[in-house]
Amino acid sequence: MMRRSLLVLMLGVSVTTACQDTTVPNLNDPIIDDFVVNPTPAQVQAMAYGLLFGSRADVGPMIRDAEIIGRDAYNLDPADPRWVDQLLGPNLDDADFGANHWLLRYRNIKAANILIESVETSAEFSAEEKAATKGFARTIKGLDLLYLAESRGALGIASDAGRTVDDLAPIICGPAALTRIAAVLDSAYAELQAGGSAFPFVDTPIEGLESFSTPATFARVNRALKAKVENYRGQYASALTALGQSFISTTASLDLGAYFAFSLGAGDIQNPLYQDTASTNFRVHRSVVTQAEAGDRRRTEKIATSRVRTWPSEPNVVSEHVFTVYDGPTAPVPIIQNEELILLRAEARWFGGDKPGAVSDINFIRQAAGGLGPSTVTIASTDAQFIDELLRQKRYSLLWESTAHWVDARRFNRLGTLPRDGATHVVHAAFPIPEDEALARGGTVTCQ
């Protein structure tokens, strides 16, 4: 009896054991495949805000690295000598720094492509809502491509994110890349104009984009970015047109603009360019202080003096100055703001034939910087003199907020004029194409 009941028990146990269901879902995260066809409004919102999250991911590190190479800043982090030895020294490793300035951008471009395609299949959105969403996503994609072009310069960029791991977009050279970005921004602009009165995923204005949270107003941000690209391309007439469609204003605050927001909330990130002034590794290059004009309020507002930080193996790498550009870990980082637009217009006007307008824009910025007197640059000055003045104003106006000081020095062939602290130091012209990209494309990459 006992044996029989034991046997029945064992048989039962082994059958239930053998036949249990072993299907296990992803307990942690949503799966991308669930988002590509007929996404719900909540899914579209998560993807759209995800584009801002994704584009923000590298903005701090990119500005930091560009400002270091541009000799506005140091990151004197003793834990990682590469911040000095590689960014300032001769060997910029293609597997280390700069790899993220590539990867994180293409990750976001891919996410934008997924949203652009998936929103098209939405059953709940109108044609206007679809256009608005696509215009938003494509503008962010243009912004990401622009950051890529800035970090890679003449080396070129991949024209788009690969559709799959093996289906890669071609590497196009600097000029072609800028043409491509202008085209992407134009497509986005057209979509935004067809996008009706509201973004379907925006319920209250987006933090950092408070003035630009409808398709019509966001289109002004799109045009501001376009103007920057056109300046890079030397298409100054087109730049001036775009500026006219942007939010440029000599009556509004110079800070008016589009920003990436940060917060202390769960799942969010803090401003990576902010560090407490007492302990920060982020230091101001001494040349920023010594080359400032007397009375320039930007010098006193953006820079403070702290404890001296040295770099034992490099005696000239030393700074007692720290940035006070951001007042806390949730301070926003600009995407593009009015002050930069006026300086972009100065450049476009100078080279577009309106030299008086250019000088007036420069002097406008000088006046705003603590009432600096009119510039020594006049309509009679040489191009070189104008560029000197333009780059100086951009350096102090956009300090620790932009890649401009380095990118402009490269655009105007002035990398050689940037100060070098060590005999072996060089000014890198661009971050290398990442080693992984080269390996995946057969070893070396030459742009087309």
């Binding site: 044996r3 046997l7 146990v13 082994s14 053998a18 249990q20 072993t22 296990v24 307990l27 942690n28 949503p30 988002f35 998560a46 805000y49 995800g50 801002l52 999250f53 991911a57 982090d77 003793p78 834990a79 990682d80 000598p81 590469r82 020294g89 001769p90 060997n91 597997a95 790899a99 990867l103 976001n108 891919k110 991949a158 791991v165 890669l168 917060s263 202390l264 909330g265 769960a266 799942g267 803090q270 902010y274 560090q275 407490d276 302990s279 920060t280 590794n281 003096t305 404890r307 001296v308 040295t310 034992p312 005696p315 806390g328 870990p329 080693e435 992984d436 390996l439 995946a440 494309r441």
Partner: protein, 983 residues
């Protein structure tokens, strides 16, 4: 349908129930050792049948046996077996067994429910006894195995108290899948996960795109109390471990805990008291004032610059100190109390033990406390059913402060390279001065920051064995074993706001709270049938069964910042960061094995296999089959010197299942403006992912020499791993960093040898000497994707690179070749060979034991030295300046890729057994025996390596990327005095 069929097949075997016959006569007798003392627990078996019994505490046995002439085999662990021919009319058989100091005749577990006599074993299975484990106290059980197993590379990740140790068996078995051997304790597959503490919130080590796992976590096998262990069997590769299927590619470590024995209850108490002591330092530069002003001062003549220079001069004139010694020089007492009771009567026997242990760290405020309680109960039910229940409760508290890489200037050995010896750091009136040279004052961090890990764990199993049939022709045993391993791990890091570094992020004060839950459960039903034909020409053992397991883990970390002094909970903080990672794996398997023992027990043939499906696979319905086959043959009586030679060969396959989640390509959740914000995962999953498949072939011989006083075992093996789970680097312009897939092939070839000799053996004097040797070479034999790096901080700092035709563990870096800077191999993590030497000399009541562990080769990326060099603070700072210039200016990685060869004096124990009359006097006749011991662990290291310890891994347990040295917790040696009394 497919599943149903298999269910039926798997269980049908259980239905084969032949009839039961009765034995016909009764043989009794007594088994004693050479000195005449009775041997408890010796097995007595009628040769060629399954009939057998065990002796009681008086050494007596009684056995029902068939009529006619027969042979009885007597066996006991630690003694040489004996076979006695018994005539039909003889009903009393008394025997005396000789000591088997080399343990050549043990039974070795080889499958879920089967074991084989070592003399027939076709694989080289290492066994470690309780005595081997506990000669010198060890922080954890894996520590205690170091240097004792040929073919095992057992390395500490740091010197921190409480573990963090990697066990690698026979080389590299995977690149991306699970790297740990399967730990089976009394039939329960236990977790050996290493769950990070969340210290990264303070150290920011993983910021900047580098991989995580730099929190110096403890792998949880550390929780097992080594004193509870009866024996450990180590199955080193697929040919031995195929029956464990897709969990067994890294080998299987089978731990059997102590059981009760019938008879008088034996109480044992062992008290140990000792101390840990810093055993190596980096050293630092002897600064002059001029040099200090040059390096740290301000060349400008501004008032701020002059104040700076005055401050440096003041600190310099206040004097220097050995900061390492001051920080890590604590010698607080450590102790360990071990009590156990073992006994039984009638059908019940028990083993109960308790452990209370405290290892005080060499850094004040760090340490390791373990409390363990075990109760093992064996109960006979009638004469055919045995129930075996084991329970183990553990609490472990680990306090480890901060170590390893950081990006925040907080981890101690990240701060020291930049802090000159004259820095003013010591508190005055409770006020800690700010470190003027780095972002934190390590003395302040040591005294105010707490980093504690509390683990509460329960491991329990129940095993019911039912002897359905037991007669002279056959036996059938059905056993059901079920068990669970449940633990919760709570991590608490409190970093008060007044710490120097805390305001860095603008949110002073940080609390990190980690909560992890893990539940492993498994169940197996096995039938073992033994058949002995009447000719007794051979015997067969058939086993089959089904097995099911489930592993669930949730690990969550909450970080809050900007917290008030005195706040201990995570209720408030102006910033909260919440993280959780879950995993759930279910699998089901069936297995079977057939063994044939023939030619007078000289030939053993085995075939078997396991089929398994697993929820981590892309297709969770698909069964993967892992077969095995082996043969061994004994040649006897080969002469006076060579007594016995066994030739053996084994072949088998096992798997390494994908890690949970590898089949998914997902979004990662974040928040932007308080709304859900999705980012695509940088890792592309593979919906078709399947287990890696290891094929191992091993062969060798075991020789018994010199009348059993010496043995030699030599094994060669080849392990080939196909369908590797690889995470190939994707072109980053695809938006993915890596993509998972199966492909490629990895090969290990190696040789292992063990020589044991008993040069002296008499009643009063025994000398046992053992040596182990192993050498393994790995090669990536096939790589369907371009060369990629897996581990390290980028090429310039040395990285592990997977490359076809190269060693799996090669280290590459930047180097000049023909004047041009190129990436090339500069080293290899894998050692050239390893040897262990142990000697045990027993002279009367004295016993001396020593163990040397020699590792030749194996390179280390010494970034700790690079940090000292970058800080111009190396002891040899002039050499350091050359190294850093070679690296920074010439771009050479070579200066920091260093040879990690070492010889360590792992264990030394001097033990004295107190004479009986003294024991009688001391314990008033209550004690049976007592001994005192002096023991030490890791007493001395001979090495040319310039880091703190050649056993190091910044990234914890790693398949490939071990041996990266970044600011580890420094190593220590320990000394213990012990008193053990048996009642």
């Amino acid at each position: 349908m497919r599943k149903t069929t298999l269910c039926a097949v798997a269980t049908a075997l259980l239905m084969l129930l032949p009839s039961v016959a009765d034995a016909q006569r009764r043989i009794t007798g007594r088994v004693t050792a050479e000195g005449g003392e009775p041997l408890l627990g010796a097995s007595v078996q009628v040769v060629g049948t399954p009939l057998g019994t065990h002796t009681n505490e008086r050494g007596e046995y009684a056995l029902n046996a068939p009529a006619g002439a027969l042979s009885l085999r007597f066996r006991r662990l630690g003694y040489k077996g004996n076979v006695v021919a018994v005539t039909p009319d003889r009903n009393e058989v008394n025997v005396t067994l000789e000591r088997d100091v080399l343990q050549l005749e043990e039974q070795v577990i080889t499958g879920e429910a089967t074991s084989v006599a070592r003399q027939n074993l076709a694989n080289d299975v290492a066994t470690v006894s309780t005595e081997d484990l506990t000669r010198a106290p060890a922080p954890t059980v894996d520590n205690a195995l170091q240097g004792k197993i040929a073919g095992a590379t057992i390395s500490s990740n740091s010197g921190a108290p409480g573990g963090g140790i990697q066990v690698q068996l026979r080389g590299i078995t995977t690149i991306k899948a699970s790297i740990d051997p399967l730990y089976v304790v009394d039939g329960v597959v236990i977790s050996n996960d290493a769950i990070s503490s969340g210290a990264n919130a303070i150290t920011a080590a993983a910021a900047g795109g580098n991989a995580s796992s730099q929190d110096n976590p403890v792998n949880r096998v550390a929780d097992i109390n080594p004193n509870d262990i009866e024996r450990i069997e180590v199955l080193k590769g697929a040919s031995a471990s195929a029956l464990y299927g897709a969990k067994a590619a890294n080998g299987v470590i089978i731990i059997t805990t102590k059981r009760g024995t019938s008879g008088r209850t034996q109480f044992s108490v062992l008290q140990r008291v000792g101390v840990f002591d810093l055993s190596n330092k980096m050293g630092s530069r002897d600064w002059t004032l001029a040099d200090a002003l040059d390096a740290f001062g301000d060349t400008s003549s501004t008032p701020a610059g002059q104040a700076r220079n005055a401050e440096i001069t003041r600190q310099f004139n206040n004097g220097k100190m050995d900061i390492e010694e001051e920080l890590y020089g604590a010698n607080d007492p450590s102790y360990e109390t071990i009590v156990s009771a073992r006994g039984g009567s009638g059908q019940t026997s028990f083993f109960v033990s308790g452990l209370l242990k405290r290892d005080a760290g060499i850094l004040n405020g760090t340490g390791y406390t373990k409390r363990s309680l075990r109760a093992n109960l064996t109960q006979g039910i009638g004469n055919r059913i045995t129930l075996d229940v084991t329970t183990n409760l553990v609490h472990a508290l680990t306090q480890r402060a901060l170590s390893n890489n950081d990006n925040s200037g907080t981890s101690f050995y990240m701060v020291l390279p930049f802090t000159p010896s004259f820095a003013d750091l010591k508190p005055e009136n409770g006020i800690y001065p700010d470190n003027q040279f780095e972002r934190s004052n390590p003395f302040e961090t040591r005294d105010k920051l707490t980093n504690e890990e509390n683990v509460y764990r329960f491991i329990g199993s129940a095993n019911m064995r039912w002897s359905v049939i037991a007669n002279e022709r056959q036996s059938l045993t059905i056993s059901g074993i079920g068990g669970a391993d449940q633990f919760s791990q709570k991590n608490d890091i409190v970093s008060p706001r007044e710490l120097q570094f805390e305001p860095q992020d603008g949110l002073p004060g940080t609390i990190v709270r980690g909560n992890a839950t893990n539940v492993n459960s498994n169940f197996a039903l096995t039938a073992v049938h033994q058949f002995f034909p009447s000719s007794r020409a051979f015997s067969t053992t058939t086993s089959a069964g089904v097995q099911q397991s489930r592993v669930y883990q949730s690990a969550g970390i909450v970080t809050v910042r900007d917290v008030l002094s005195g706040q201990g909970n995570i209720d408030r903080g102006s910033s909260a960061d919440v993280f959780e990672d879950q995993k759930l794996t279910k699998d089901f398997a069936f297995f079977g094995q057939e063994e044939v023992l023939a030619l007078d027990e000289r030939l053993l043939l085995t075939v078997g296999g396991r089929g398994e499906r697993n929820s981590n696979n892309g297709d969770d319905e698909k069964f993967f089959f892992f077969p095995k086959a082996s043969a061994s043959f004994r040649l006897l009586d080969l002469g006076a010197l060579l007594n016995e030679l066994k030739l053996r060969a084994a072949w088998g396959q096992s798997g390494n299942q994908p890690v949970y989640g590898m089949k998914f390509t997902s979004y990662l959740s974040g928040a932007y403006d308080a709304r859900n914000a999705l980012q695509t995962n940088l890792v592309a999953g593979d919906p078709d992912i399947q287990p890696e498949r290891q094929t191992e072939i091993e062969g060798g011989f075991d020789a018994t020499l010199w009348g059993g006083r010496s043995s030699l075992t030599v094994t060669v093996y080849q392990k080939t791993i196909d369908d590797l789970i690889l995470e190939r680097t994707a072109a980053p312009s695809s938006g993915f960093q890596t993509q998972l897939f199966n492909g490629g092939q990895l090969r290990n070839r190696g040789v292992e040898a063990e020589l044991a000799v008993t040069p002296l053996q008499s009643n009063n004097l025994t000398w046992i000497s053992r040596a182990t040797f192993s050498r393994n070479r790995s090669e990536i034999t096939e790589l369907p994707v371009p060369t990629f790096q897996t581990g390290g901080f980028g090429t310039s700092l040395g990285a592990m690179q997977i490359e076809e035709g190269k060693s799996a563990t090669q280290i590459v870096g930047n180097d000049t070749l023909g004047g041009e800077l190129v990436t090339r191999q500069l080293g290899d993590v894998m050692p050239d060979f390893q040897m262990g030497f142990s000697n045990e000399l027993t002279v009367g009541a004295f016993r001396v034991f020593g163990l040397l562990d020699w590792r030749k080769g194996g390179d280390i990326i010494n970034l700790t030295e690079l940090l000292y060099d970058a800080g111009s603070n190396s002891e040899d700072y002039q050499e350091g300046a050359r190294r850093i210039t070679d690296w920074a200016v010439r771009g050479l990685t070579r200066p920091f890729i260093q040879d990690g060869s070492f010889v360590k004096l792992r264990e030394v124990t001097l033990s004295y057994t107190l004479p009986e009359n003294l024991v009688g006097t001391l314990f008033r006749g209550q004690a049976q025996g007592a001994r005192v011991e002096l023991s030490g662990r890791n007493l001395y290291t001979w090495t040319d390596y310039r880091g703190l310890d050649p056993e190091v891994s910044n990234f914890g347990n790693q398949a490939i990327a071990r041996n990266i040295d970044v600011a580890p917790y420094p190593p220590s040696r320990s000394f213990f005095f012990s008193l053990g009394v048996d009642f």
